[in-house]
């Protein structure tokens, strides 16, 4: 990471700390904002958060590792999450999953080479009455068919 980039990131995190405060309970909102902006929380970002909240960097790392929606390695620009829980499963999740995998040429858990899309499974998205369901970043799609899913994926920029 360049010094300039580091300084920019530090500025950004300082602003977040100003916004949410320095108490420990601000940790998750701060990490969530960094995640949203950069799609991962780098080692340097973790150290800066730890320094500004006056906690050990290992604490920050431990919290990130606990939550499925926070990660310490870069992911794609968009995260596609397909619900794998039983109601969606019975409504045709497998066919949808295979169609997406074929179309993108990657498996679940992987990122496309152009870093555009990371493909993941999620547990129950609360759309059981309209499955199979898919989250693209924070947008939800329901009643998927393989064709419709591929259409949605192809429109992702």
């Amino acid at each position: 990471m360049l010094v300039l980039e580091k300084n920019a990131l530090t500025d950004e995190i300082e602003k977040l700390v100003l916004k949410y405060g320095t108490s420990r309970s601000s940790l998750l909102p701060i990490l969530q904002d960094i995640q949203r902006e950069h799609r991962y929380i780098s080692d340097f970002a973790q150290q800066e958060v730890a320094r500004l909240l006056d906690i050990h960097p290992v604490e920050v790392n431990s919290v990130i590792s606990f939550y499925a929606f926070l990660n310490t390695t870069p992911k794609g620009k968009n995260i596609v999450r397909l619900c794998q829980t039983i109601s969606c499963d019975f409504q045709g999740k497998k066919a949808v999953a295979q169609a997406i995998e074929r179309e993108l040429g990657i498996s679940f858990g992987q990122t496309t080479k152009d870093n555009k899309i990371t493909l993941e499974y999620a547990n129950c998205l609360g759309m059981c009455d309209q499955g199979p369901a898919l989250l693209v970043n924070d947008k939800v799609y329901s009643h998927l068919t393989p064709e419709k899913a591929v259409q949605i994926i192809s429109e992702i920029k």
């Binding site: 108490s23 420990r24 309970s25 601000s26 940790l27 998750l28 909102p29 990490l31 969530q32 431990s62 919290v63 606990f66 939550y67 499925a68 929606f69 926070l70 794998q84 829980t85 039983i86 109601s87 499963d89 019975f90 999620a122 547990n123 129950c124 998205l125 609360g126 759309m127 059981c128 009455d129 309209q130 499955g131 989250l135 924070d138 947008k139 939800v140 799609y141 329901s142």
Partner: protein, 400 residues
């Protein structure tokens, strides 16, 4: 996404205008509201069924300058989506209930813990809170009541099922890993930031808003003696009309199946992955805290479904979602999943499966929180109720 409210009952979806409950509550004393809620016999709608009046009384009685009201909107139980409908279509019921809670227990801050998967609702909920602030239903001297200040903020979860457990949720709000705490002390005495805290389900708050307006007696008229009022059921699986249904407690499973247009039903999973699987022979059981309890999740499986596949899906879920801090849950769920895979591959022995059922019973008593205490339920109930299909040639390895 479409709106999926299928059946509006006469309790939760009875008429209600925004702020009605708050204004009515602020004319009464705290004690009167508590008595009203006690009379309604309202129990926690998350599934555990703790009497709401008792919880609020304990929080109100706890000595502290600072207290908190937390709304648990970390709806992660497989097959549950009633909170999604409540928050999207009836936020007034939920937020009014939180303000009333704040007034009763003496809190000035409320937090809605919204699961990360529901981030798409955040904007509309924030806008709604802003509108409440403009109407003086949030903020200082609410609805003209001098000295009653209360505001609500929304915090997002980050994809952890276990955070639906109230002490894990509090840990998460405090910026820690979402690992459940030992109890006691209970949150009513030492909750968020070690202050007295009441944590209630979205639907519980919605019920309170109605009870304050229409009275505890009116509420208790619905449902059964041990389970008063009505309940929102999230119906999914093999039926013609899935969606959210409001039905009185005490409804028979067979009645519900008819209502939603379910045919050739083999099994009904009541209470989500952590609930129990009820076979056809027991469809005359009733939904209620005294019999088949549920936080709302009802999943219907017809004759064509492989129950071992259902069980495997549930166990994979628990292995993934166990937080890992206590051994019975961390290791136990892994062992149960291995057992399911052995059955699938035909490498099991009955002796070992029986040992796993015993392990499940150990997990039910030895796990630290509700996750590990309830995750063996489906393992035990599915293997017991569907042993013919799974072991005797109609399913499993020899499956159709």
């Amino acid at each position: 996404m479409e709106k999926k409210m299928k059946r509006k009952g006469t309790v939760i979806f009875s008429e209600y205008t925004r702020g009605e409950g708050i204004k009515k509550a602020l004319q009464k004393s705290r004690e009167d509201i508590l008595l009203e809620i006690r009379e309604s016999k309202l129990k926690g709608r998350g599934g555990a069924g703790f009497p709401t009046a008792t919880k609020w009384m304990l929080t109100a009685a706890a000595k502290s300058d600072v207290k908190y009201v937390i709304c648990n909107a970390d709806e992660g139980e497989p097959g549950t989506f009633k909170d999604r409908v409540l928050l999207l279509e009836y936020p007034e019921l939920v937020f009014d209930g939180m303000v009333i809670g704040g007034y009763v227990i003496g809190a000035s801050e409320g937090i809605l813990y919204l699961r990360g998967e529901y981030e798409y609702m955040l904007k509309s909920l924030e806008d709604y809170l802003d509108a409440m602030r403009k109407d003086n239903l949030l903020g200082k001297n609410i609805a003209g009541k001098k000295g009653f200040d209360f505001d609500i903020k929304i915090r997002l979860g980050a994809g952890a099922y276990v955070c639906g457990e109230e002490t894990a949720l509090i840990e998460s709000l405090e910026g820690h890993r979402g690992e459940a705490r030992n109890r006691p002390p209970f949150p009513v005495n030492r909750g968020f930031l070690h202050k007295p805290t009441t944590v209630n389900n979205v639907e519980t708050f919605a019920s309170v808003s109605h009870i304050v307006v229409k009275g505890g007696q009116w509420y208790a008229k619905h449902g059964t003696d041990k389970s008063s009022g009505s309940k929102l059921f999230s119906i999914s699986g093999d039926c013609e009309k899935p969606g959210v249904y409001e039905l009185p407690w005490g409804t028979k499973i067979s009645e519900l199946l008819e209502l939603v247009g379910a045919k050739d039903t083999k099994a009904v999973q009541v209470g989500g992955a952590s609930g129990t699987c009820i076979p056809k022979s027991q469809f005359d059981r009733i939904l209620g805290y005294e019999d088949a309890a549920t936080g709302g999740s009802i999943m219907i499986f017809n004759e064509s479904r492989n129950m071992l596949h259902v069980l495997k899906n549930f166990m994979e879920f628990f292995v993934e979602e166990s937080c890992g801090q206590c051994t019975p849950c961390r290791i136990g769920n892994t062992k149960l999943l291995e057992g399911v895979e052995m059955i699938e591959n035909g490498t099991y022995t009955f002796g070992y499966i029986n040992k796993l059922k015993d392990l499940g019973k150990t997990m039910q008593v030895a796990s630290k929180c509700g996750l590990g205490q309830s995750s063996p339920n489906s393992f035990i109930s599915i293997l017991e109720n569907f042993k013919d299909e799974i072991f005797n040639g109609n399913g499993g390895v020899h499956g159709k």
